[in-house]
Amino acid sequence: MALYSEKVMDHFRNPRNVGVLEDANGVGTVGNAKCGDIMKMYLKIEDDIVKDVKFETFGCGSAIASSSMATELIKGKPVEEARKLTNKAVAEALDGLPDYKMHCSVLAQEAIEAALKDYEENGQGG
């Protein structure tokens, strides 16, 4: 049995929406290098829609896959929907994560929350 599901490996090997969004209006970073995982989410929000999203991640395979899947789940969606994204939804979309890796999906949820908070605090969220 493989360590991860095929979906996890696919998102790990070919991460979607990876990189920096220069014109992001919401950026959030969570985790720390001491624990071995850092996720940074860049959101471009227009008319309450997540027009674009990119991520950068320092972390293990499931951390990279969780970030990638999380961006897929919110891209093009209304901000309200992005706000409701749960770590469970990320993990389920990846066909599951090993128990000791569930924190990676939590980190992805928190990174998006942090980016949305930044968007609101920048005054651009009205």
Partner: protein, 394 residues
């Protein structure tokens, strides 16, 4: 596939496979039985004991077969602790980077009232003999120092430490799991009282190992039952496995010079190549190092991702990152040599086998360079470091 995880386990040698498979079919008698068929198995067992003993300069009576290195470590420590406790000596001196088979057994002994003094292993991953001497007290029951570290491959000054222990009348144990069959080990010359070894680390079968205990050291049983192994380890012996281990050990020890001559230049070729990666560092002393071991930290990346991508490129390796250990902390060995968490997560261990070639070495270096560069490409940690928003550690 390039198998570069020989410190985890090794491929059984052809002779070991042959011995194991033949004996399973033919010599299935119980060595404790008195009839000829049982005694044939007993002969195989005792020949194996003689061969194992000879390969480390011990007497056959000083060898107890175990299920592996962990059992041998457990039994050595529990035995030395019992001997000490009888004389009211309840102080033990290990190093900070012992294998968990040692450290976890010591945790147990600590709860039973033993006091533990952990020796520093410094930035180069080497114990200083004078610090062993300074740590020894009137009530010291045992000093335990691994012969070669399993993660960073550093070879400890065992002979000097052994001499100090002899001088002070303290039992000296060494976990030699990564040394036996890889470098010359001689219990007599090295002043060793107890030694643990594992069959599958030197091309023998898994589930085999042995404990050397110098004559006069009373062992405490971990397993009670019949009178096998001079009453010190109950249970019918794994005769085919033990014989195969002995064959593998004989072969490995006979080839030690070739092994060193073959692996050292390949190892150094990889070390040189990986050193070209910016903000990387070799872990552990370069000189005092087993011929097979390479261990690096790369700043700004995490080890599990590195391993998975190397696996995709057909390279089997290992890392000391938290994600590969199943805990939140990275390798205690890397922390012990002063690597901070941030960089300890980005470690890579390559442990070479005899079949490694220069071409393999170049492919490994090329692949690691590519993967490290790729992962750094979307690492927020790396981006901040490059942008001057943090300080490079390596």
């Amino acid at each position: 596939m390039i198998y570069a995880d020989n410190a985890a386990t090794t491929k059984m040698s052809a002779a070991a496979v042959k011995t194991l498979t033949e004996l399973i079919g033919t010599t299935y008698g119980n060595p404790s039985s008195l009839y000829t068929f049982g005694q044939e198995a007993k002969e195989v067992l005792e020949q194996a004991r003689a061969d194992v003993a000879a390969s480390i300069g011990a007497d056959p009576k000083e060898i107890i077969f175990t299920s592996g290195g962990s059992e041998a470590d457990n039994q050595a420590l529990i035995s030395a602790a019992s001997i000490g406790a009888r004389k009211n000596k309840k102080h033990i001196i290990p190093t900070k980077f012992e294998h968990h088979a040692i450290l976890h057994t010591l945790n147990k002994l600590e709860k039973e009232g033993f006091e533990i003094t952990l020796l520093d292993v410094h930035e180069n991953g080497l114990v200083r003999p004078e610090e062993v001497e300074n740590a020894i007290r009137e009530d010291t029951a045992l000093v335990t120092v691994m012969y070669a570290n399993n993660e960073i491959g550093t070879i400890q000054p065992i002979r000097e430490i052994g001499a100090i222990c002899r001088k002070h009348g303290v039992i000296f144990h060494t976990d030699a799991v990564q040394a036996v069959g890889h470098i010359k080990v001689n219990v007599e010359e090295d002043n060793i009282d107890m030694l643990s070894a594992s069959g599958h680390k030197f091309h023998g079968p898994k589930g085999t190992g042995f404990l050397y205990a110098k004559k006069g050291i009373a062992l405490t049983n971990l397993i009670e039952g019949g009178a096998q192994e001079r009453g010190k380890r109950a249970g019918t012996e794994n005769v085919p496995g033990i014989a195969a281990m002995a064959v593998a050990l004989k072969e490995s020890v006979a080839a030690l010079d070739d092994y060193k001559a073959k692996l050292t230049p390949v190892r150094d070729r990889i070390i040189k190549g990986l050193s070209e990666i910016p903000h990387s560092a070799l872990n552990g002393d370069f000189e005092h190092r087993v011929p097979s071991n390479i261990n690096f930290c790369f700043e700004g990346i995490e080890g599990e991702s590195l391993l998975l991508l190397l696996d995709d490129k057909g390279i089997a390796a290992s890392s000391g990152s938290a994600c590969t250990s199943g805990s939140l902390d990275p390798s205690h060995v890397l922390l012990a040599i002063g690597r901070v968490h941030d960089v300890a997560h980005g470690s890579l261990r390559l442990s070479l086998g005899e079949d490694i070639t220069d071409e393999d070495a170049d492919y490994i270096v090329k692949s690691v360079k590519e993967v490290v560069e790729y992962l750094r490409g979307f690492s927020p940690v790396w981006r901040d470091l490059v942008a001057g928003k943090g300080t490079f550690i390596l």
